[in-house]
């Protein structure tokens, strides 16, 4: 018999713990900012949504539909990284052991955690809805219709929220997906999920019915298929963009007709919401109930994973790099470089597979045609480097080693600089030969690669310092990596590392400035945290 009171207690506590975090307040600020950026003033030449290069008239329908659709997509990505630590935090605090010793059943615990996730993500969605409502008051061109907003958000959000909540819980229950690998796997899982809507996005508008959702809409948590089908059937065109986008000022704005959801639409959304639910059964089956033996086994299995297994096998290799620890530290500069090399050595010791891959990558770089080096090998190198970079700037905070190493001269005050320099060296360690080859044929692209290495490292350090968790960098880096790779240089601004050679001087300068801004932000955040801890 499931106790509603116990389930409620788990869900409510989980929600309270998350909701009262400072990072949640920051998330709400970011949501408001996102709403502000997503709904631009048409006078700037940009709009929230264009159809055949016509901007849509800013009425409640267009703003509600577009913002709900975009938020649903973003929520299904970022939401995972926000809630995929609900069981982990009970393990880390050891409160899970107390939970396991109570009459609380595992199914009640997991269901409580699920509702906690849903409540939290639902609260964020409500926050975004209010922000978009406020933006409407600023930019709307017709009277506000609150029910129109509620309709689209109610139609799109629940399946998206449930999907993320279930998958986060499932990944936490599966030992090898409960860590960094799960973070990366989910990203590709999310891309696949978005791909479900491709059937509608690529379909001819005349082949779609306004009243009968395409079959893919029944398997579409984000609701992209449903929205794409509505826009296509309502406007009779297949060309439209949702999101901050330029439009043709000479073309008159179009008024988007509202979607009148019938039973088939509701069924499609209901089906999309229910589809992930059976996965909870799998989560229940694999849930360890905080049994230390099973937790230990999980850890053991993780060690036996092929990446970690290879790392263990290659551990002796790390000794080769011990010379880095002997850097002469006779002056301030010596201490700085000594700390940087020690940090770099630490990464190589933690991931002994990296030097092997770096050597392999360098050798292959020598023989591959240059386009293959820049467009395949370098992107792969950046992808491989995401986990170690994510770890670098939050290692001390995560493992509580800060107090021990901060006694090292200068390290505490030069922390951000040391971490950044070590991260840049790590990227260049992988891409150095490729960089040299590019430098001879296209010096501009080589400069882009250098700046790309710097911006990648700066993002890792900045997010590591601010969030103190590797998740933030993993998701941001994966998203950016995917956008840059899939765009293949069509938008020069996305070619941050010069993989496709389309980034010009302006783009390079912008990324260089961004790097400096990120480092300044990291330094400010670091000093603020440091001072706060000293006061405490």
């Amino acid at each position: 018999m499931i106790s509603g009171k116990r389930l409620r207690a788990v869900a409510l506590s989980d929600f309270r713990i998350r909701f009262r975090k400072t990072s949640t307040a920051v998330t709400f600020v970011l949501l408001s900012l996102t709403a502000y950026l997503l709904v631009p003033d048409p006078a700037t030449g940009n709009t929230l949504m264009e159809i055949d290069h016509h901007r849509v008239f800013y009425n409640s329908t267009s703003i509600a539909l577009a913002t709900a659709c975009l938020y649903s997509i973003l929520l299904s990505l970022f939401g995972f990284y926000l809630v995929s630590n609900s069981i982990r935090k009970d393990i880390d605090s050891r409160a899970g052991f107390i939970v396991a010793s109570t009459p609380l059943r595992s199914v009640e615990y997991l269901a409580g955690k699920l509702f906690g996730n849903i409540l939290f993500l639902g609260a964020l969605a409500a926050g975004f809805l209010l922000s978009c409502g406020a933006m409407y008051l600023l930019r709307g061109e017709a009277p506000l219709e609150p029910l129109e907003f509620l309709k689209y958000y109610a139609l799109l959000m629940p399946p998206s929220v449930v999907f993320v909540s279930v998958i986060a819980l499932l990944f936490e229950s599966i030992s090898f997906l409960s860590g960094r690998l799960g973070d990366i796997v989910y990203f590709f899982f999310w891309i696949l999920g978005i791909g479900v809507a491709a059937g509608v996005i690529t379909a001819d508008p005349s082949s779609l019915s306004p009243n009968q959702p395409h079959w893919t809409a029944y398997f579409d948590p984000q609701g992209v298929a449903l929205i794409a089908q509505h826009v296509k059937t309502a406007t009779g065109t297949g060309s439209f963009t949702i999101g901050y986008t330029p439009f043709d000022r000479d073309k008159a704005p179009v008024i988007l007709q509202t979607l009148k959801p019938g039973v088939p639409h509701l069924l499609a959304r209901f089906s999309s919401m229910l589809i992930p639910i059976p996965l909870l059964g799998l989560a229940l089956l694999l849930f360890h109930r905080f049994d230390p033996t099973k937790l230990r086994v999980s850890h053991g299995k993780a060690r036996r994973g092929w990446v970690k297994g290879t790392n263990l096998l290659l551990k002796p290799l790390a000794r080769t790099f011990r010379f880095m620890l002997g850097f002469p530290r006779t002056n301030r500069l010596g201490w700085f470089f000594g700390a940087v090399l020690a940090e770099f050595w630490m990464v190589l010791t933690a991931y002994p597979i990296l030097p092997v891959l770096a050597v392999a990558s360098s050798v292959v770089s020598l023989f591959l045609p240059l386009p293959a080096v820049t467009q395949v090998l370098l992107p792969v190198a950046f992808l491989i480097l995401i986990p170690p970079l994510a770890e670098a700037a939050c290692r001390e905070r995560r493992f509580g080693t800060g107090q021990m190493i901060f006694v090292s001269p200068l390290f505490k005050s030069l922390y951000v600089g040391c971490k950044f320099a070590a991260c840049v060296i790590l990227v260049l360690f992988f891409t150095g030969i490729g960089l040299l080859r590019v430098a001879f044929s296209a010096p501009g692209a080589a400069l882009s690669l250098l700046i790309g290495a710097a911006v990648f490292a700066a993002v890792a350090v900045c997010l590591g310092v601010i969030v103190a968790s590797p998740k933030a960098f993993v998701v941001v880096a994966l998203l950016f990596w995917y956008l840059a790779l899939s765009d293949r240089g069509r938008v020069p601004a996305l070619d941050f590392a010069g993989w496709f050679g389309t980034a010009g001087a302006n783009v390079r300068l912008s990324y260089a400035i961004l790097t400096l801004l990120l480092l300044a932000t990291a330094q400010i955040a670091y000093r603020w945290k440091w001072r706060r801890e000293e006061v405490a």
């Binding site: 106790s3 009171k5 116990r6 409620r8 207690a9 788990v10 506590s13 309270r16 713990i17 009262r20 975090k21 935090k89 880390d92 605090s93 050891r94 409160a95 052991f97 107390i98 939970v99 396991a100 010793s101 109570t102 009459p103 609380l104 109930r289 905080f290 049994d291 230390p292 033996t293 230990r296 086994v297 053991g300």
Partner: protein, 302 residues
């Protein structure tokens, strides 16, 4: 063995073997009635593993744990209704207030009476800070909150694992007093490797070494078994460094005339040493090293 009717908790030939092949607990049997049981042993002796099995968090590889006639390995809920557990290095949810924290665990244990939460906060002297986030609490306050959550369902069995680790002396005394007050009318199992934590409160002491029980008896019996095996001597500092390598020294205090040491051993091992009345620390050291200090004779008090 005690009469089955008087036994509250019976551990019967319990073994815990990990996947790695190492033993956490080796064929351990123990019958417990009410009172405070001090579980003593060095780090790695298996105290936490044993407590986790009793707390139904971990399952023994073999053997039975019986609570009031029910096998709790098969029916853990029988015990969970009447169990209070405070794990080692227990953490808190920083963003919850003390009252919310207790309400959460009270709900999980099926206690829905708000007055019970107030009672517990009063008991551990946290009522004045009941509505403050626990993230700002000191280590001692968090431990007191931990014991409050363990007691919220008025348990018949209370398991407390290394509760005083990291606490300052004042908080240690305060915590011991709380345990002493609540020890009546229930079974309290308190694990520690610090003898002073239990010497004033334990009615029986179990000593564990490498997953096996080496002694289980009231403190008085452990002390009796150690009479005539504790010696006091005053040695020079330079001698002391050598002696500590060869003798079992239970305490050493530096004074102007030299280092005052207490040696645990079957006979006088140092000229000039005099027989001393044993303390629980000496008894612990004696039983823990029974093989080496007493020539391997059986000291199991079961």
């Amino acid at each position: 063995m005690n009469e089955p009717s008087a036994t509250l908790l019976s551990i019967q030939s319990v073994t815990k073997r990990f996947r790695s092949g190492t033993f956490g607990i080796k064929d351990l049997s123990l019958d417990m009635q009410g009172g405070v049981i001090g579980l003593l042993g060095p780090n790695g002796a298996g105290k936490t593993t044993l407590m986790q099995m009793i707390a139904t968090i971990s399952v023994p590889t073999s053997g039975r744990i019986v609570f009031r006639g029910s096998d709790i390995v098969r029916e853990p809920d029988v015990l969970r209704q009447k169990l209070g557990y405070l794990p080692q290095d227990f953490g808190v949810y920083d963003n919850l207030t003390a009252r919310e924290f207790l309400s959460y665990f009270a709900s999980l244990k099926g206690v829905y009476r708000p007055s019970r939460i107030s009672e517990m906060l009063e008991l551990v002297n946290l009522h004045a800070v009941a509505n403050r986030p626990v993230g700002g609490f000191s280590g001692g306050m968090k431990q007191r909150l931990g014991i409050a959550q363990a007691l919220i369902n008025d348990p018949d069995l209370l398991i407390v694992d290394e509760p005083t680790a990291g606490l300052d002396p004042e908080e240690r005394v305060r915590f011991r007093n709380i345990l002493s007050d609540i020890g009546f009318g229930r079974l309290v199992i308190l694990s520690t490797h610090i003898v002073s934590d239990i010497e004033s409160v334990a009615t029986q002491i179990a000593i564990l070494r490498e997953g096996s029980l080496v002694a289980f008896a009231p403190p008085e019996a452990l002390l009796c078994a150690t009479v005539g095996r504790v010696w006091e001597a005053v040695v020079k500092s330079e001698e002391f460094e050598e002696l500590r390598k060869t003798l079992k020294i239970s305490s050493a205090i530096r004074k102007p005339d030299g280092v005052h040491i207490r040696i645990v051993g079957p006979e006088k091992q140092l000229p000039g040493s005099v027989a001393a009345e044993p303390g629980l620390e000496d008894a612990f050291l004696y039983h823990l090293n029974a093989d080496s200090v007493a020539g391997g004779q059986d000291h199991d008090q079961r």
